[in-house]
Symmetry: C2
Subunit: 235 residues, 2 copies
Amino acid sequence: MTRDPTMTTDLSGDYSEAPILQRTLHDEVAARLRDMIVEGRIDPGSRINEVQLGRSLGVSRTPLREALKTLASEGLVDLVRNKGAIVRTFAIGETLDMVQALSAIEQTCSRLACDTASAEEIENFCSLTETMVSEYGKRNRLAYFKLNQQLHQLLVDLAGNQTLSRFHRTTQEQLRRVRFIDIDKADIWALATSQHEGLAVAFRSRDKSKMGSILEDHLVLTLQRLREATHANEL
Amino acid sequence: MTRDPTMTTDLSGDYSEAPILQRTLHDEVAARLRDMIVEGRIDPGSRINEVQLGRSLGVSRTPLREALKTLASEGLVDLVRNKGAIVRTFAIGETLDMVQALSAIEQTCSRLACDTASAEEIENFCSLTETMVSEYGKRNRLAYFKLNQQLHQLLVDLAGNQTLSRFHRTTQEQLRRVRFIDIDKADIWALATSQHEGLAVAFRSRDKSKMGSILEDHLVLTLQRLREATHANEL
DNA sequence: GCTCTTAATACTGTATACACTTCAGAACGC
DNA sequence: GCGTTCTGAAGTGTATACAGTATTAAGAGC
């Protein structure tokens, strides 16, 4: 018996699924590094000095190196033999690729979700949309942004395909790097919001092709926004 | 100057892009492990003993653990604190998810490729298809199988979206685990082959919707095949 | 002054050592 | 006999040590 028996009896109800989340050091380090890279606190293209970074994080090289392997798999750094980890520079093209990929997943999933989602789930989606619209009404960018991301992910999740959900999640995560280039112009913001409203309506009537075309429009809008932003502000 | 000058002058032509491929130990180990898992040489669900496996591979725990982090990111193993790496068991549902995801990518990419691929590239695709069909004529399963995989990947690559290509590649790689469940029945094999022929024709005329519907049929066929196979042979 | 060579330094790649957790079985009480 | 506690072994998590490679700077030759 590894746990305190009193605890065990306390939990004897049905709490067995509690995740508890005991992170290891390399997990923690990976998370920290991910943030640092994504938020641009480490220059893209720069090499990562393991001893230096390890010291600043207060860990030895071992968990740090393990974390770097994870980040490499996620495409955030490149690993070069005898040079170590190099923070990956995202070409504009790659960003557009990622956005396009996200949209492709969402379009596929919207079709699937029309078949598989329960009425309750769809209502949930719609009410979340409403919340977002109301945040738009208040011009609350941060709340809007978070809800927006949540909605896109929810749409994908409702298709019930774990593989696609995972891919969508990691890609979206990586895009945090460029997400500060966000809704600049009021008219574009308004348009995006109305698209979301349309999406919810189409979802409620399980209209696959309508959802598809709205998402396609949404993609075009995003790409355009990105291209404009990147002209001024080279990544 | 790090290299022997005579070498440098020898290479002064235009060989600078040679990949050379100096793998590190953890890369090598990751590749080996990937194969072992994918080919079922390590039982799904079993824990991986680091010292034991390291000894059998002739490496210390350090590169082995680093390799495991990579495999974990790829979803081949789960990492549990104080228990180490556990070979992931693929539920049937997850396999179906992956197949569906692959098809979704392919459908999206076929549409994109119709716009972006050059005539030459399309011809290349068509001739590869012909090669595969001729292998089908000889009932050469292995060659057929390889070409089949190549064709699917090529179609995706022709869309020119790195993100989608990468995802397609890793997912296909993971599916090697269940690919031994392959074309059992002659009629299904014939049907799949004819679908490929149709795909090439449609691609030549850049007929997006035709390609989409063929790929959808192809998916249905694959799913059906998988379901039948998995009924008999539980994974 | 410039280039090439060479030596020293810094840093990565790998192995080993130590600490802590988990698990299994023995010892013990009842 | 059954359950509980303790103890030891086994194994993972992390830190450190060592080896080999790249890079920088100094020096020699011209």
